[in-house]
């Protein structure tokens, strides 16, 4: 099953199970159905529970919060994460605060789904991974599943949770396939997933970056380096325990984000691991992410903007063998990037 199908199945199964769940978002009931993730849901559950929205991101986020305060369980969708910036006031000042500032007397069971874009010249404003902005705010949960299995289980978990959850998808993950059980299951918050075991270096990937980490891991193994690849999955709460245990074993940490590194999730992960290890275990580390510039549209520049399996493998190799010459690897473009075509 693909990532898209997993998201759709989780939504449909939860809507069938709990009539408080509904989906609202721009275009969720159109013929494209949010890349297929909401396709057919309006027909299946009726237009009262799956409906289009005006282009009013702050207002409609407030509407979702209000419906959640009233006891419903909205899923609010955004085709690009960049658009959440228009809703920051409702997310940060209201959704994240309501329970605490009203002394625990209300609940805000809200899921905000947002897609990070990439490729085909998405450019400056359709490509941003803004998860660290939300990780910064107590009262929110932030997850970024990379596999169809986690996408389904975490979406179900997010829908059932009584708190606002920022659920981050990635355009290039949508075609990914994996085994996904048909039945309902949940994946807990705060649990990272070890995708490949290894001893020499820990590669932590966030969202689509973990796919690139897996490719780097295969290259590294051809050169006799055993990398442990961990999908962070849950960014807030963060599974510091799993990450720190891996670094204790490998002594080296490379965090690869689908975002900028400065003040980013990668900074938080390195700091959290360092604190957890309490200074007693020195470890080498590096962070990788978007180049510290605006995302360009020109294909050759866009390529340079992102880490790729080759740059990741090279950086990991340098961590493991600092004195050796740089790893030489051929630079094939990852298939989902090479194959991705617009217009959107």
């Amino acid at each position: 099953m693909t990532y898209v199908q997993a998201v759709r199945e989780a939504t449909a199964q939860e809507m069938a199970r709990d009539d408080r769940v509904f989906v609202m978002g721009q275009g969720v009931d159109d013929f494209k159905g949010m890349y297929g993730t909401t396709a057919g849901l309006a027909e299946q559950f009726g237009r009262e529970r799956v409906f289009d929205l005006p282009l009013s991101e702050e207002g409609t986020t407030g509407v979702a919060v209000g419906a959640a305060l009233a006891g419903l369980r909205p899923i609010h969708t955004h085709i690009r994460m960049d658009f959440l910036l228009l809703a920051m006031n409702q997310i940060v000042n209201i959704a994240a605060k309501s329970r605490y500032m009203f002394g625990g007397r209300v609940r805000v069971p809200l899921v905000i789904r947002a897609v990070i874009g990439r490729g085909w010249g998405q450019g400056a404003q359709h490509s941003q991974g803004l998860h660290s902005m939300f990780m910064h705010v107590p009262g929110l949960r932030v997850v970024a599943p990379a596999t169809p299995y986690d996408a389904k289980g975490l979406l179900i978990q997010s829908i059932r949770d009584d708190n606002p959850v920022i659920f981050i998808e990635h355009r290039l993950l949508y075609g990914r396939q994996s085994h996904v059980p048909e039945e309902l299951y949940t994946v807990p918050f705060g649990r990272a997933r070890i995708l490949a075991a290894g001893d020499d270096v820990t590669l932590v990937g966030i969202s689509h970056a973990v796919v690139e980490c897996l490719r780097a891991q295969r290259t590294l193994s051809q050169h006799g380096i055993s990398a442990e690849v961990i999908d962070a999955v849950s960014l807030s709460p963060l599974d510091t325990e799993t990450l720190a245990a891996s670094v204790r074993k490998t002594g080296r940490l490379l965090v690869v984000d689908t975002a900028w590194t400065f003040c980013g999730a990668s900074a938080e992960i390195v700091a959290a691991v360092a604190e957890a290890l309490g200074g007693g275990v020195p470890f080498a580390f590096q962070r990788m992410g978007f180049a510290p510039v605006v995302c360009p549209t020109s294909k050759p520049l866009e390529k340079l903007f992102y880490p790729n399996p080759q740059t990741i493998a090279r950086a990991a190799h340098r961590l493991v063998r600092p004195k050796a010459p740089d790893l030489q690897v051929d630079s094939a473009e990852s298939p989902e990037i090479a194959e991705f075509k617009g217009p959107f």
Binding site: E48, L53, V63, A67, L69, A70, G71, G103, V106, P138
Partner: protein, 312 residues
């Protein structure tokens, strides 16, 4: 009966706030307060027309509608004192007063930001086919925020059971409406978004009550588009805090005097005979005395409360 209820509510809110004015200089209330003195009739006229099961949303200028809707007085005063017995155990203060058990869903210190939640709450009511309504209170300044228009559009688009009450006291902090809006006709803007809108030029509590009753009945029955009522009113105290600010130069005492001479509390009180008035006043005074004493002798929250209620 209406006169009695109005008087009781108006007197109670006025006297609670006068007590806050009296006690604020003792520094036992260590957070901002925005007083409604002079504007109480808007909250009372509207809330008197509501059922306990209806809900209201509002702003940091929270005391009048909170009390008029039935919010707990002891819990409110204790909340202002930052005590563990406050409605939010000391995490809200005056600016975020909420009492969901009595339909007071909350307030925000960010101007206009509760308006869309009120709309979302009304959406939920409509989806569940309830005959409840939502009222949201906000100031004239809030009508300058983009989210105000987004919210009106959505409410009208979905024909939601919601009443927007704009308390137009013609100032946002110290800025007059004329320095902020090119076309200060708030009702026309609401009409342009697809709402029904009407303005009350004087603070006539009976008229406001009658209109609210009519509108709310229609909203419950799903027979009308959402409604906005703009109530002209005047803030007697400074924007935030217990004092007066007529010497500051941005407005004159004379401007206020006209409103003070038409004090709704006095108008309503004069319709009751002295004995009834006295009985109401005595019971309210007793309740207020008790509430402040309760707040003063309540404990502060324990340190571990810092970490509770962040997540459900």
């Amino acid at each position: 009966m209406l006169d009695r209820n109005f008087y009781r509510q108006l007197y109670r809110i006025r006297r609670v706030e006068e007590e806050l004015v009296r006690l604020y200089p003792t520094d036992q209330i260590t957070s901002p307060i925005h007083l409604s003195i002079g504007q109480e009739a808007v909250s009372v006229g509207v809330c008197e027309a509501l059922r306990p099961s209806d809900v209201v949303f509002g702003t940091y200028r929270s005391h009048a509608y909170y009390l008029a809707k039935g919010g707990d007085l002891r819990g409110m005063i204790a909340e202002l004192y930052g005590k563990a017995t406050g409605v939010a155990q000391g995490k809200a203060g005056s600016m975020h007063l909420a009492d969901p058990d009595h339909g007071v869903m909350g307030a925000s210190a960010v101007v206009a930001s509760t308006i869309p939640q009120a709309v979302g709450y009304a959406l939920a009511m409509k989806m569940r086919r309830e005959d409840r309504v939502v009222v949201v209170f906000f100031g004239d300044g809030a009508t300058e925020e983009g989210v105000f228009y987004e919210s009106l559009n959505f409410a009208a688009l979905r024909s939601l059971p919601i009443l927007f009450i704009c308390e137009n006291n013609s100032y946002a902090i110290h800025s007059p409406l004329s320095s902020r809006q090119a076309s200060p006709d708030i009702c026309r803007k609401a009409e342009a978004m697809g709402l029904l809108a009407e303005r009350l030029e004087t603070l006539d509590i009976y008229e406001l009550y009658a209109r609210t009753c009519r509108r709310v009945t229609e909203l419950r029955a799903g027979r009308t588009a959402p409604v906005l009522i703009e109530c002209l009113c005047y803030r007697w105290k400074e924007h935030v805090g217990p004092g007066e600010d007529f010497a500051a130069g941005y407005r004159s005492a004379g401007e206020c005097r006209a409103w003070q001479q038409a004090d709704v509390l006095v108008t309503v009180g004069s319709r009751l005979n002295a004995a009834v008035r006295q009985e109401i006043e005595q019971s309210v005074e007793e309740e207020i005395r008790e509430a402040f004493a309760f707040a003063q002798c309540s404990p502060f929250p324990a340190g571990n409360e810092l970490y509770t209620d962040l997540y459900a």
